[in-house]
């Protein structure tokens, strides 16, 4: 057994195995190294943007396959690769973990999604809402139940399997953090779960858009598939951005809906552990639904409402286009920062530290999630059309 699923591991062994950089608790933000970490993310974003602009011109006129690659590789790919490259350099220099407080993937992606909300027509959110909620409820229930059962069969500790099941079924690291609070998990269990999320999410950024093309999925179905099964919001956004603007809009709506359902999962876990596992633990309270509700989802909807109403009042089409362009570019800036940060956060250490049982449970759950999400997205978003803007 590994340190992750051995309850009686020694305190020293736990400290040795603990990788805290993936799970930020705010203390690192007060460090001067925070600004240095932010500067690294900014540098990666500038390199990514430079490559996105320059590579197509370098490959123009080259062999047709090379020109195709240069013309079709989008900024999320360059951003993730820039993050991975900087990750390797900083790791080699022994600086990566010291600067990790500045790798604020969650902040960048949530800010970008709120800004993106202003580019999504309110009617699209309304049209997609019912399908998204239904897909979210079915997917979360199915994937959580499978992961809980399968990890139990492998003998994974109850608290760790609650974290793994919540992370893979709902929304990755932020869901694992919510579940850790609900079940009173140990910090190293949270670090392992969060690390596994990132290790599994990163390849999906590249693999899923390729599979979506291979399956011939429409943009709406592809977006719903990405939003339903990729664990982290940042990786969902990256895959959606690679697929195209329409897929990105649907992916953001579907993922936002799943994020919004985390409160119900956290309350259910709190109740289960309070009444079944740890009878002395704090009982769940309804106010937790609000506390755990992801506020950026509200921001996304508010931005869409405000922008839809505001732009309706402007008769000058050029002015409307100018505003839409500015908000779209600003959301792209925040996304680029997030994609660089997720490349910087990637590390294989959690795979080694967690042992084979949590990794096998998480891998099997990911495959199950892929299949169930594809089925649900294909049924629920079949024929869904986005208005041309």
């Amino acid at each position: 057994m590994s340190a992750a699923d051995t309850p009686a591991a020694s305190p020293q062994a736990e400290r040795d195995a603990l990788d805290e950089s993936v799970v930020e608790d705010g203390r690192g933000v007060r460090s001067p190294l925070f600004l240095a970490g932010l500067a690294v993310v900014l540098l990666g974003a500038l390199v990514a943007r430079w490559l996105a602009v320059e590579v197509p011109t370098w490959t123009d006129g080259a062999a047709s396959w090379l020109a195709d690659i240069g013309a079709n590789v989008d900024y999320p790919v360059y951003a993730v690769l820039a993050g991975l490259l900087l990750n390797a350099v900083l790791h080699g220099a022994g600086l990566r973990d010291r600067l990790a407080a500045g790798f604020r993937t969650e902040f960048f992606i949530k800010t970008g999604l709120v800004v993106l909300g202003s580019t999504v027509l309110l009617s699209v959110i309304v049209d997609a809402a019912a399908r998204s909620v239904l897909q979210g409820v079915l997917l979360i229930s199915g994937v959580f139940a499978f992961t809980w059962w399968f990890a139990g069969r492998l003998g994974v500790d109850d608290k760790l399997r609650a974290l793994l099941a919540t992370a893979v079924a709902v929304c990755g690291v932020s869901a694992a953090i919510a579940a850790a609070g609900a079940v009173r998990a140990r910090r190293e269990q949270l670090a392992y779960a969060a690390g596994l999320v990132i290790v599994f999410a990163l390849p999906s950024i590249f693999v899923l858009p390729a599979l979506a093309d291979w399956f011939g999925l429409s943009d709406a179905v592809a977006g719903a598939w990405f939003g339903g099964n990729i664990d982290t919001t940042a990786a969902v956004t990256a895959a959606g951005a690679i697929q195209g603007d329409d897929a990105l809009q649907i992916a953001a709506i579907v993922k936002g809906t799943q994020n919004a359902l985390i409160g119900f999962v956290a309350i259910g876990l709190t109740a289960y552990f309070a009444f079944k596992v740890d009878r002395g633990a704090e009982k769940p309270r309804a106010i937790e639904l609000w506390h755990r509700f992801p506020k950026f989802v509200l921001g996304f909807v508010v931005a869409s409402i405000v922008a839809t109403l505001w732009l309706d009042q402007i008769s000058d089409a050029a002015r409307v286009d100018e505003i839409k362009n500015v908000t779209k570019v600003f959301s792209t800036y925040f996304f680029t920062l997030a994609f660089v940060a997720i490349g910087l956060e990637f590390k294989v250490k959690p795979l080694r530290d967690a042992g084979w049982r949590p990794v096998a449970a998480f891998g099997a759950a990911t495959v199950f999630n892929l299949a169930l999400a594809l089925l649900l997205a294909s049924v629920l978003f079949h024929g869904f059309e986005l208005p041309s803007t």
Binding site: E106, K110, G112, V114, A180, R184, F296, G299
Partner: protein, 58 residues
């Protein structure tokens, strides 16, 4: 330190992580909405983009 004590300490750590995640969530929401409002109001325009003065600065 007993197993129970160590568990309590670790839970405080995960509570701190959760609390920080929630405040970061609020901050991202406010910053995002401010950017949207500034863009709608015309305070931020295309001159702010990387091919504008921001690009020249960087």
């Amino acid at each position: 330190m007993s197993e129970l004590d160590r568990g309590a300490t670790a839970s405080e750590d995960t509570d701190a992580a959760r609390s920080f995640a929630l405040s970061e969530d609020w901050l991202a929401t406010v910053v995002g909405l401010v950017v949207v409002l500034l863009a709608l109001g015309g305070v931020i325009d295309s001159s702010w983009l990387l091919d504008g003065w921001l690009g020249d600065l960087l």
